[in-house]
């Protein structure tokens, strides 16, 4: 493989042991899955932050990496952790978990990773522009920045994104070139309008074409960036693709039809048949605009005593919501605006008698593997209505 002078020095250990090991990993990836070349990156986003996900093995690795001089060379942000740092009690966090989680954040911070603790770093200052090369983990963000913003990133793992951040380089694969093209046409005949529609559509497409990049042809749809974010998260959950297309070359491609029947199968599986005890909105993390519209719905109303309503976002957006008085409205209604975390990466325990209602197919998918509680999906309007006193 042809390496630059800097890369040769990195491999020789002149930039420290951590950088050497990190480059070895990026080179092995480039060799196995890429074009045997590297690409310089503008930013990185690291996943595998929650102690629930990476455990002691992950701490072990991060600790050694930090001790051997690991330091990021580009702007790097952090995925959510296991709880809201200011309200750990909402997430069944015990002392042990708390300490381990704080240790992980401290180690990542010591390597220069910004503690943004969000799956939507593009809302909080890590905002790529079209044509940027990145090394991002977190599938929902990967699919979003590739497809909606037009940046280029592999679907990195936690460790590979961190290695890329430390070296400032990613493996050059198809995802970093204009060889990335639609591989299958998905014709959607049903109408998609609210967040749940988009989320479920993405998830359903991924179930039907789990490893090809889809060109999605919609007939009747209400778009917004926030909705495309929900679509990205749904698709990234059930598919291994790193992007989707909404327009592009469609010559000689296989065609797949998504009708209301395929979508109904997903909706029926997670149908609400009892009163929810926990209502969760904010997977991926809510934008300020979403929080504004939720606050409007909650104005002057009250969450049922026997239900908990969590709305999740990033720390930075939370602060903005607070400044604009939205936090006040939400808290007065008895709901919780939470930050730094989400249901999926938190150690929250649900009992068999609990009923979780969410407007995210991604949350429903992962919650199913975590708990015996009943899992249901509903539109954002329905979620709020179910949470409130009638």
């Amino acid at each position: 493989m042809k390496l630059s002078k800097t890369e040769k020095l990195m491999l020789r250990g002149n930039y420290g042991d951590a950088c050497k090991k990190a480059l070895e990993l990026i080179l092995a990836i480039a060799d196995s899955y890429g074009y045997g070349k590297l690409v310089k990156i503008r930013s990185a986003h690291v996943s595998g932050v929650s102690y629930k996900n990476i455990g002691d093995a992950g701490i072990d690795f991060l600790n050694d990496l930090a001790k051997s001089g690991g330091r990021v060379r580009v702007k790097t942000t952090m995925n959510p952790c296991g709880f809201d740092l200011d309200k750990p009690w909402l997430f069944n966090v015990d002392d042990h978990f708390f300490k381990k989680q704080m240790k992980i954040i401290k180690l990542l911070k010591s390597m220069g990773v910004e503690p943004t603790l969000t799956c939507t770093p593009y809302y909080v200052g890590n905002k790529p522009i079209k044509g940027d090369h990145l090394a991002w983990a977190e599938s929902s963000a990967v699919v979003y920045v590739n497809s909606v913003i037009g940046a280029y990133t592999n679907r990195e793992s936690g460790p590979s994104a961190l290695a890329a951040a430390i070296t400032g380089r990613a493996a050059l694969t198809k995802d970093h070139t204009d060889d990335r093209k639609p591989e299958v046409i998905v014709r959607v005949s049903l109408r998609v309008s609210d967040y749940l529609d988009w989320s479920v559509l993405g998830y359903t497409i991924g179930l039907m074409v789990p490893s090809q990049t889809p060109l999605v042809k919609l007939k009747e749809a209400t778009y917004s960036l926030d909705k495309l974010k929900c679509f990205s998260a749904g698709l990234g959950t059930s598919s291994s693709t790193s992007m989707f297309w909404l327009s592009g070359e469609d010559k000689d491609l296989e065609k797949v039809d998504v009708t209301s029947r395929e979508v109904k199968e997903v909706r029926d599986k997670w149908m609400l048949t009892r009163r929810p005890t926990l209502i969760f909105i904010g997977c991926p993390h809510c934008s300020l605009r979403e929080i504004k519209s939720i606050a409007r719905e909650l104005q002057g109303k009250k969450v049922r005593d026997d239900a908990k309503l969590l709305i999740s976002t990033s720390r930075r957006v939370y602060e903005k919501a607070s400044q604009r008085g939205l936090l006040d409205v939400i808290e007065k209604a008895g709901a919780h605006l939470v930050k730094d975390t989400c249901l999926v990466v938190s150690p929250i325990r649900l009992s068999k008698s609990d009923v979780l209602l969410t407007d995210s197919a991604k949350t429903a998918h992962y919650a199913e593997t975590m708990t015996n509680a009943m899992i249901a999906i509903g539109g954002r309007r329905q979620c709020l209505k179910e949470a409130l006193e009638q």
Binding site: K21, I29, D31, G48, I54, A57, D60, F61, S157, G158
Partner: protein, 142 residues
């Protein structure tokens, strides 16, 4: 690409993480998940109904089609390697990102792209030599 000249069975793959190891083979046609599928404190395979359930990874040559599951599995391999509980070498047909990452950070010799036939030819307990510099797998005795 197996050769049986002079009685030795050899397979050619591609050395990804360089190194050399000789040890007892642990062979499966089923992908292994290191997160959840392996006990991180002992290196024993826990996955129910896996044909290697109960087997120990420590010091073995693990031959499998590829790994599966969460990329956190990479950290489990790293952690096992640090405590000398990891396989001495891993041989795959088509390596996944999790296994590749775990081998690089855990410094476990890795040979990828061996022919599938290797998994049916090499048997559990065979003594196998892995030369990950040259990507060569040699069966020493069976």
């Amino acid at each position: 690409m197996s050769e049986r000249s002079s009685g030795t069975v050899m397979f050619q793959g591609k050395g990804i993480v360089k190194g050399y190891f000789r040890g007892e083979a642990l062979v499966t046609n089923k992908p292994i998940s290191f997160l959840g599928g392996v006990d991180p404190s002992t290196g024993i395979i826990l996955e129910k109904n896996h044909d290697l359930e109960g087997a120990t990874l420590a010091g073995r040559v693990l031959l499998m089609p590829h790994g599966k599951g969460s990329t956190v599995g990479s950290y489990v391999l790293y952690s096992l390697a640090k405590r000398k509980l990891a396989p001495g070498a891993i041989v795959t047909v088509k390596v996944d990102l999790m296994t590749l990452t775990g081998c690089v950070i855990g410094e476990i010799p890795l040979v990828d792209r061996v022919p599938e036939k290797a998994l049916s030819t090499i048997r559990n307990g065979d003594i196998v030599e892995v030369d990950a510099f040259r990507g060569l797998i040699k069966v020493i005795s069976r």
